[in-house]
């Protein structure tokens, strides 16, 4: 427990420590023309296209080389379903008109424009107040998730086939690599927390969650295509994964679990109303902690690496590069560990919560 708090403090320290560093140097950056803060947040945020690199065209203007991803927009009144390539936005420079709607991409968010010229509505403080369509585009993060899912499906079906083909024999190759990890999830995570009787129901979820998070963490560490997407450092992704744990925990929860929530045994009657509230809140805080922990850890790692690289541009000196290189190398190795650790912790705590909900009366 103490360790977990230390962990969280450590990460918070890093997030805020690094953030202030970035914000603190904001004034100096504007003079030099590199907005490190914006670049970092752009890198850890999701994107509608996959930016590869920049080139200067004949006029000396910087042009982004990116490959387009499908934009899928749903409008409710009147119902409309628009699909087009993100390249039509020209990196946010051009509005796109489909039927009655004109869409504008502004800093990663798609809005309805007031007219086909792509004008947006602003309030007095300069904030955009234009309405937004429901955006279910295949963004960089979604694309990476699809990629990882495809990879996982291919990989584990191959492993399953290897078991069929080499039935009864010692595991070999990728099967031999995966088996200890699969058995680790079963023997060290599922069985100790859930128990021998019921672990089999939850094992597919725990295995899928573990490998999904682990692979996404790892692919996020690769700085170029097909990596670089900060999927597990996105609060929406981690929230959904935590939601799966929440739903599974409460769907499979037994009478004992609900008795502890609504009628904690051995408690004076007058305390019950308070405890019921506390217990109901705790149902939601557990997965909330799961989501925030994973998000914060991965995002923090990405921010640190990006900040260290940005040092070169902040100091505008190549002599900082070796320092950055070794710090980034160190951080990447640490992140490699964190990627595995966080996948393990998410799975471990999910198993623990499920185990607490299905525990036999004793």
């Amino acid at each position: 427990m103490i360790h977990r708090f230390q962990n969280i403090f450590f990460i918070l320290f890093f997030i805020f420590g690094v953030s202030t560093q970035i914000f603190g140097s904001e004034g100096a950056q504007e003079k030099k023309g590199v907005d490190v803060n914006a670049i970092i947040f752009e890198h850890i945020a999701d994107n509608h296209s996959w930016h590869l690199w920049d080139v200067r065209d004949d006029d000396g203007v910087k042009q982004a080389v990116a490959f387009p991803l499908p934009i899928i927009l749903v409008s409710t009144s009147p119902f409309a379903f628009d699909v087009f390539w993100s390249s039509e936005f020209h990196h946010g420079d051009h509005p796109v008109t489909r039927g009655n709607n004109t869409y504008v991409l502004n800093h990663g968010t798609i809005y309805y424009a007031q007219n086909t010229q792509g004008d947006l509505e602003y309030d007095e403080e300069g904030e955009i107040i234009s309405a937004k369509p429901i955006d279910i585009s295949i963004t960089k993060n979604v694309f990476t998730m699809l990629l990882v899912s495809g990879l996982m499906f291919w990989l584990f079906v191959a492993v399953a086939k290897a078991y069929k083909k080499r039935s009864g024999l010692a595991p070999r190759g990728v099967q031999g690599f995966m088996e200890p990890i699969i058995l680790f999830v079963r023997d060290e995570i599922a069985i100790p927390n859930i128990g021998h009787k019921k672990y089999k129901i939850f094992l597919p979820y725990l295995l899928t969650a573990f490998f999904f998070i682990w692979f996404l963490n790892l692919i996020g560490l690769i700085p170029f295509f097909p990596g670089s997407a900060n999927v597990t450092g996105n609060i929406a992704t981690t929230a959904v994964l935590a939601m799966f744990t929440l739903v599974i925990t409460n769907v499979y929860a037994n009478k004992e679990y609900w008795r502890h929530v609504f009628a904690m045994p051995g408690l004076p009657a007058w305390l019950l109303p308070i405890m019921i509230i506390v217990e109901i809140i705790s149902i939601f805080t557990k997965p909330f902690a799961l989501a925030v922990r994973l998000f914060a850890n991965i995002t923090a790692g990405h921010i640190i690496v990006l900040s260290l690289v940005s040092l070169i541009f902040i100091f505008k000196s190549l002599s900082v590069a070796p320092v950055s290189f070794f710090f980034v190398l160190f951080m990447d190795v640490l992140e490699l560990f964190v990627a595995t650790l966080q996948a393990f912790i998410f799975t471990m705590l999910s198993a623990l919560f499920i185990g607490m909900a299905v525990a036999e009366e004793h």
Partner: protein, 164 residues
């Protein structure tokens, strides 16, 4: 801040992708893999158990062999002992018989010697008697005056007498 505002598109796609992946992997990967691992573990366990059982049987068999060997040794020893006893007994018996036979033969010999002796004595007596009669006859017949001559004749006759 954008960073901590969940994006509806990501929520939607993560749910769909993860759910589909979970169901697909459960059907096509995790269940076959777990079944295969369990089956393999079971077969290994069975093999180990069988090996253990065989080992125990071997130990049992060896113990049995030992017992049989011991019994055989004991039997052999007792047979040898019996044979030796029999041999000794036979020797003793033979000796005994030999001794008895020898005794009997000796006895018989002695008896026959005694008998012959008796016969000889009787014969001797008869002969001596006859000779005495002969001598007496000669003495009487010649009517020797001289005692010396008679004595000489007597001793000579006695010398001539052979006690076969």
């Amino acid at each position: 801040m954008d960073l901590i505002t969940p994006d509806i598109g990501i929520v939607f796609w993560t749910t769909v992708i993860f759910l589909v992946l979970l169901l697909l992997l459960r059907k096509f990967a995790w269940k076959p893999i777990m079944a295969a691992i369990d089956a393999r573990n079971k077969s290994i366990e069975d093999a180990l158990k069988a090996a253990e059982k065989t080992k125990e049987e071997m130990v049992q068999l060896q113990a049995d062999n030992e017992v049989i060997l011991q019994q055989a040794k004991k039997e052999r020893d007792s047979l040898l002992m019996e044979a030796r006893d029999t041999k000794e007994q036979m020797i003793a018996q033979a000796q005994q018989e030999a001794r008895v036979e020898a005794e009997r033969i000796t006895q018989k010999a002695l008896q026959s010697i005694e008998l012959e002796k008796q016969k000889a004595i009787v014969e001797l007596k008869n002969t001596v008697g006859e000779l005495s009669i002969d001598i007496a006859e000669k003495i009487l017949r010649q009517e020797l005056t001289d005692t010396k001559i008679s004595e000489k004749i007597i001793s000579q006759s006695i010398n001539d007498l052979k006690l076969n």
